[in-house]
């Protein structure tokens, strides 16, 4: 047995120790990045979207790209915690808490962008179907309304799922903490005492939530993909989009988990808990989803190229590959298809540095993928007279990078408050391992 219960709890708790200078520096960086984005957004509110680079036909740009990107990031959490839980994939145990935290904060980020990009964000509440004296209802035919439901449902479910999982851990931490932490964990523990009945309810509830969240993994990004797929725009109007988007979301989400986990396990000394085996498993997931994404690219392009030259669909794809945005397209292919294929080699998978780099680039590539879908299709619609290239303004870049500031700000705060690894499940796993090895020794 490599890890004792005490060691485990101590390691996890050590993460909650007095923050060092590096932490504060990172937190300040994240906060100022977020503040910069916020300042940029205030310009949009005051002056209108004139300060962006948006135009006709490019009515959507960076901000929608950011939205889809962050919804994608939000996917891995539920995938790892819910689906892999149902499949009894044990390697998830060590990583799922980080993934879940990431999910909640990523949804918190993603949800902002549809509001940010509105012409009149102060009326964003009109997108919710609330009873009103005017008797005006929302348009349930609009995929943007589906989005509202999908994102808010996903946010609620993933938050609840996170909090349910945290409850036993919070109880464990509560018993050793003092001051505000004790009160906080007292609340998060929901009166957990570790009785048999509570454990029975907990495991039932966890299974139930896992089962409930699983379809969401597929549905949320499918709904997001319908934002594009139900339109008549060449490059958007495609039945391939839902599976393609889900695979892409998981690819970017898992890559993001890796990008976060690799430094995290160093800084918080979690190497014993999050082992190379866990990273290997995650990298296989990256590889798998990358192959699905590559297949989707190929399907789209080959289908389009099969059309006659005058076909707008074909023209849009040719434009993507050879037009104004071609460098971004090929960078995307390099990041999302070529990079992850290196993970076929076990050596690459086991190299933490290589894995980190590839995952980081996958995130760049996935952002570019969404940019490519959103922007190139709009720039090259059916009526050639209205073609026009869109270039984001500094305001949109500030808001794009501000999103990372905002996300990491919450994530860093979360790290100091929530246990980054599920103590209870790790203990359970350790106990099972101990039991198994004990029995084996007994038999031997």
């Amino acid at each position: 047995m490599s890890l004792s219960f005490e060691r485990l709890q101590a390691t996890v708790q050590a993460a909650h120790g007095r923050p060092g200078r590096g932490y504060w520096l990172l937190l300040a960086l994240a906060a100022s990045l977020a503040a910069w984005g916020g300042w940029a957004y205030s310009l949009v509110v005051r002056n209108g979207l004139y300060v962006t680079g948006l135009e006709r036909p490019g009515c959507w740009g960076n901000l929608i790209t950011d939205f889809v990107f962050w919804v994608g990031i939000a996917h891995s959490g539920t995938l790892i915690s819910a689906i892999l839980f149902l499949f009894r994939a044990k390697f998830r145990t060590a990583v799922y808490r980080v993934a879940e935290m990431m999910t909640v904060f990523a949804v918190m980020t993603a949800g902002l962008y549809p509001i940010f990009h509105l012409g009149r964000p102060w009326f964003a509440y009109w997108l919710f179907p609330y009873p009103n004296e005017r008797g005006i209802w929302v348009n349930f035919r609009s995929p943007l309304i589906w989005d509202v439901f999908a994102i808010s449902t996903y946010f609620i479910v993933s938050t609840v799922f996170l909090l349910v999982g945290v409850a036993p851990d919070a109880a464990a931490l509560r018993d050793r903490a003092a001051g505000w932490r004790r009160r906080l964990y007292g609340i998060l523990a929901f009166g957990w005492r570790g009785t048999d009945e509570q454990w029975r309810h907990y495991t039932r509830a966890y299974l139930f939530f896992a089962a409930f969240a699983t379809p969401l993994v597929v549905s949320v990004h499918s709904v997001v993909s319908w934002d594009f797929a139900v339109s008549v725009l060449p490059g958007w109007h495609s039945t391939l989009f839902p599976p393609y988007f889900v695979a892409g979301a998981i690819l970017s989400g898992v890559a993001m988990v890796i990008v976060i986990l690799v430094p995290l396990r160093r800084w918080l000394h979690l190497e014993e808990i999050i082992t190379p085996r866990h990273l290997d498993m995650l990298s296989r997931l990256v590889l798998l989803t990358s192959l699905i994404v590559t297949y989707s690219y190929a399907t789209e392009i080959l289908t389009a190229l099969g059309e006659p030259a005058s076909d707008p669909e074909r023209s849009t794809f040719v434009y993507r590959m050879t037009g104004d945005y071609a460098p971004l397209f090929w960078l995307m292919v390099a990041c999302n298809c070529v990079g992850p294929s290196l993970l076929l080699a076990g050596k690459v998978r086991r190299s933490v540095k290589a894995l980190f780099t590839i995952s980081l680039l996958v995130n760049v590539g996935m952002w570019l993928e969404r940019f490519n879908i959103v922007v190139t299709s709009l720039a090259h619609d059916r009526d050639p007279f209205s073609w026009r290239t869109y270039t984001p303004s500094w305001v949109e870049w500030a808001m794009t990078f501000g999103a990372f500031g905002w996300f990491f700000f919450w994530f860093l705060v979360g790290l100091k408050v929530l246990p980054p690894v599920s103590i209870a499940e790790m203990k359970e796993e350790l106990a099972h391992e101990a039991h198994a090895s004990g029995e084996a020794a007994h038999a031997g």
């Binding site: 948006l54 509105l118 009326f123 348009n139 139900v230 339109s231 007279f385 026009r388």
Partner: protein, 971 residues
């Protein structure tokens, strides 16, 4: 019983105090200046919310179209054509529509101004200004004849007549008054004088012509009477079949007028004359056995036979067969019309070109059929250009003491080589009646701002038998005074008995003249007052008729021979490219600075706000220039910097620059037409060099090619039907339109791309002007755009197709289902309604619109005072963050529907006319109810030429386009 006075605060006391406070609040200074309706006692005829119409006349160009000014609550909000006027026929061009913005221009002079010793203009009173001027005039008068001069735009009416009377009273000579029209078609007048002894501008009736050949005459843009010409051409285009008017464009550059042509003869700059001579030579050549040729023309054969076809064809830059083919066409298709020269072909041989074209007209019997003499009223024709030059010379030499400038801008509208600005600087007292700052008022010492035409009395007679009356449609906005009134008052102050006119004010003077018009138009009439009132209500006195053939003048013996030699070739030095200068449909000959005209993209280049230099793709490649680059264009006169626009509709040996700004004028060398002495716009050679990249360009077009998508199909006259997709299968229930289904039909065979509809839409629907920066960022807000396709693929065959693109009001509208808040929805009458105050601005509707006709308010629109007074009160001004688009002028639909309901009758077909359809000179747009199978729009929509934009998407638009008929070869 208690004393009521002792009550603390009774009911009555409370009401008294409350009332007093209310009155006091009402009397506060702020409330006093902000009146909801600016009438304390409203005039009987002004009912708030009800439009009131005045007939008047457009003064934006010399054509003199009649105008109906729509006023609301005492201010003009829209100009429309006067349907009774024989010139405009109810239509108005882009510039006419924009005349309203000159009225409300924020930079208009607010009152008389005097230039102080420090060089700045400062305000003074009218009396003071007039006294000052009277004194100066008396002093100048002492210096002898010619020291008081008047420089004016053509004023064919009271204003001009009074100027002449005033000058006479001062003892001035007739030549002291110089009439300036920089784009004057003087060569036409000179040719008429030489050939027929008629120094007139001929009038054309193009609707009768079966073939029209335009030799660089931009007759649909700026040449003579463009609105009238567009209507006449459209009539000929309405006859699909062998009688459909066939148009040939001759010149180095395919202009917007050339877009309507069936054939473009790419003659080189200056080659128009050679084409015309070749044409005449072919026609009179007995070997070609042309029937029914005028004997006078046949007699010219001996001279013409001496011309060498190969020499002519070399000069023209065209193979001789092309000229022969044109000759054959004209010999068979009669009558025809030959138009020219226009600005772009007005070279040193302009009068000769005009004369040869008249001889062709004569030979083919067009005189009295399509071309008419005897209709020029000769009322205030522009002075010969020599007079303008001698005035400038006198000014420069210090021989002019006082110069009265009446709506002329010599410093800003004549080639810089004439140094008009310097000449103005030598005049001790320059008095301008201009109403807005320009290059001349910048140098004026006294500015006495005139009323805008919509604020003044007057009359214009653009043609014999047409007097369009000008009457004020609203109270003057500023402390301006009619120029005629100022002259009248001035005369009263002069100690000259001859200057004491009998009229108490200028209005009375116009009335006296109107009486004579009434006599002429109607003969003796018992009640002149009633006649005049009726004329004011209708807009003028019209006794216009085309004279019969018998009244056409005969050729003066021996006059033609002088015009039949090939002129010596133009000197080749100065550069390797011919400089082509052309007027535009929006800017005319001079930059107006009116926001709508600047904002609306040029129909040829789709550029707005800036001038540009056009280069052919081959030339651009040779020079290493791409669209958007900065290039220098250098001529012997000067060097200017412009942005390049690569345009396949230009010969490889030419560079083209639009008139309408200082750039083209700076590059024009001073060359005159050999015969008439008028300014030659075409003669210069230029060197073009690349300077560098230019940054973003205020351009509207993405790709001007159809990329094989067959967006705008064309048909042949033999088989005028379009292949359309089978859309009979229905998967979903479609919206029902129980009562009306508003729809439109746009005839592309008539549309000339003149942009009048675009500007009318800006005016009617409060469409904001966003400025040059927004234009280069793709934030143009126009609800209609003229899409111009140059062919199928870049480098392929040039085939220009225009497509006015506006909201298609689809039955299956892609914009509707994607809006999350129902800000856009389908009405029961088939409109895609846009609810501005429900819109949250997701912009998904625009993304999903295949036609990209929705515009988004990226920021709050700005209407700088007093331009905001033009805003149509029936239409919302949209705020930032909302989407907007064409509504089919829903306010007009509702107005007509309410009117019909009040009168308990159904809406009549043709009763609803959207602003675009109303102003279209070519009558290309029809609007009406598609649910009524007998309506005009329904009948047009069923035509075989009909197609819908991107029809295979099954959006089922309410707009049917009628395909253009294309006949490259003569039938």
């Amino acid at each position: 019983m208690t004393d009521p006075a002792q009550k603390p605060l009774g009911r009555r006391a409370f009401l008294k105090i409350a009332g007093a406070v209310g009155v006091a609040a009402g009397c506060s200074p702020k409330a006093a200046t902000q009146k909801v309706i600016p009438f304390l006692v409203p005039p009987d005829d002004i009912v708030p919310g009800t439009p009131l119409y005045y007939r008047t006349v457009c003064r934006e160009c010399p054509a003199g179209c009649g105008v109906t000014a729509r006023t609301r609550e005492g201010r003009v909000v829209k100009l429309e054509g006067n349907p009774e006027d024989p010139i405009g026929g109810g239509a108005l061009c882009a510039r006419g529509q924009a005349g309203l913005q000159a009225l409300y221009a924020p930079d208009r002079f607010q009152g008389p101004l005097r230039r102080g010793p420090e060089g700045r203009l400062s305000a003074l009173g009218w009396d003071e200004a007039e006294d000052l001027l009277a004194k100066a005039l008396m002093a100048a008068r002492e210096k002898g004849p010619g020291s008081i001069r008047v420089l004016t735009r053509p004023e064919p009416g009271s204003a001009g007549a009074f100027q002449r009377a005033f000058l006479r009273a001062l003892g001035g000579r007739a030549e002291d008054r110089v009439v300036l029209d920089p784009l004057d078609a003087a060569p036409l007048r000179a040719a008429g004088e030489a050939l027929f002894d008629q120094p007139e501008i001929p009038v054309h009736e193009l609707s009768r012509a079966r073939s029209i050949v335009a030799f660089g005459a931009e007759f649909l843009e700026a040449w003579l009477s463009p609105v009238e010409h567009a209507r006449q051409l459209a009539e000929g285009r309405g006859r699909v079949g062998p009688d459909r008017t066939r148009l040939t464009w001759v010149g180095p550059r395919l202009s917007l007028t050339g877009y309507s042509a069936d054939v473009w003869l790419r003659a080189r700059a200056g080659g128009e004359l050679a084409v015309a001579l070749g044409l005449l030579r072919w026609l009179v050549d007995p070997r070609n056995a042309v029937q029914d040729l005028a004997p006078e023309a046949r007699a010219l054969n001996s001279r013409l036979a001496a011309l060498d076809p190969s020499e002519l064809s070399r000069r023209a830059g065209l193979p001789w067969e092309r000229i022969e083919r044109l000759g054959r066409e004209l010999s068979l298709r009669r009558p025809s019309a030959l138009l020219g020269p226009g600005v772009s072909s007005q070279g040193p041989d302009a009068t000769q070109l005009a004369a040869v074209l008249r001889l062709v007209d004569l030979a083919l019997g067009n005189l009295g059929q399509t071309v008419f003499y005897g209709l020029d009223p000769m009322e205030d024709p522009p002075s010969p250009f020599g007079q303008v030059e001698s005035l400038l010379a006198d000014m420069a030499a210090g021989r002019v003491e006082v110069l009265l400038v009446h709506h002329a801008d010599p410093a800003g509208s004549l080639p810089a080589a004439l140094r008009a600005g310097e000449a103005l600087g030598r005049v001790p007292l320059v008095v301008s009646f201009g109403s807005r700052p320009d290059e001349t008022t910048r140098r004026a010492h006294l500015v006495l701002p005139d009323h805008h035409a919509l604020e003044s009395w007057g009359d214009v007679s653009p043609r014999l038998g047409v007097v369009n009356l000008c009457q004020p449609a609203m109270t003057p906005l500023a402390d301006t005074r009619a120029a005629g009134q100022v002259l009248l008052e001035l005369a009263g102050k002069l100690p000259l008995p001859a200057a004491h006119f009998p009229w108490p004010d200028f209005y009375e003077y116009t009335q006296t003249r109107a009486e004579t018009y009434a006599m002429v138009a109607l003969g003796k009439f018992p009640d002149l007052m009633a006649v005049q009132r009726e004329a004011l209500q209708r807009g003028g006195y019209w006794s216009y008729r085309l004279p019969p053939r018998s009244e056409m003048p005969a050729l003066v013996r021996g006059a033609a021979e002088g015009f039949l030699s090939v002129p010596p070739p133009a000197p080749a030095e100065g550069g390797d490219l011919d400089l082509v200068v052309f007027p535009g449909v929006l800017r005319g000959g001079g930059g107006s600075g009116l926001p709508w005209l600047e904002e609306v993209p040029d129909a040829v280049s789709s550029l707005s706000w800036i001038p540009w230099a056009e280069l052919s793709p081959a030339t651009a490649r040779r020079l290493g220039v791409a669209t958007g680059d900065r290039v220098s264009v250098a001529t012997s006169a000067g060097r200017v910097e412009l942005r390049a626009y690569v345009y396949p509709g230009l010969r490889d040996d030419a560079v083209a620059v639009p008139l309408g700004g200082p750039e083209a004028l700076a590059a024009l060398p001073l060359v005159r037409d050999a015969h008439s002495g008028s300014l030659a716009f075409r003669s210069a050679r230029a060197v073009v060099a690349r300077i560098g990249r230019g940054g973003s360009l205020p351009i509207l077009e993405g790709s001007p090619y159809q990329h094989g998508r067959e967006i705008v199909p064309t048909v042949s006259a033999a088989a005028p039907s379009v292949r359309r997709p089978d859309l009979s299968h229905r998967m979903y229930r479609e919206p029902a339109h129980p009562e009306h289904r508003w729809g439109m039909a746009i005839d592309l065979d008539r549309c000339t791309g003149c942009q009048a509809c675009v500007v009318a839409c800006f005016a009617e629907n409060n469409v904001p002007v966003m400025g040059p920066e927004a234009a280069s960022q793709g934030r143009y807000m126009g609800w209609i755009r003229i899409e111009r396709f140059l062919g199928d693929e870049p480098g392929g065959e040039l085939e220009v197709n225009l497509l006015p693109m506006l909201c298609q009001q689809c039955t299956n509208a892609p914009c509707e289902p994607v809006c999350p808040v129902y800000a856009t929805y389908h009405t029961a009458e088939g409109l895609n309604a846009q609810v501005y105050n429900r819109c949250v601005g997701t912009r998904y509707c625009s993304n999903n619109c295949p036609y990209k006709v929705r515009t988004f308010n990226w920021r709050d629109a700005q209407f700088p005072r007093p331009l905001n007074m033009q805003l149509n009160p029936d239409v919302t001004v949209r705020s930032k963050g909302v989407m907007e688009k064409c509504t089919f002028c829903v306010q007009r639909i509702r107005y007509a529907e309410n009117q019909a309901r009040d009168e308990a009758r159904p809406v009549r077909d043709g009763e609803i006319v959207p602003a675009c359809a109303q102003t279209c000179p070519a009558r290309a747009i029809a609007f009406g109810d598609l649910a009524d199978p007998d309506s005009r729009v329904s009948r047009l929509s069923r035509e075989r030429r009909g197609f819908m934009a991107l029809e295979d998407l099954n959006t089922r638009p309410a707009i049917t386009y009628l395909a253009r008929v294309r006949e490259k070869e003569e039938p």
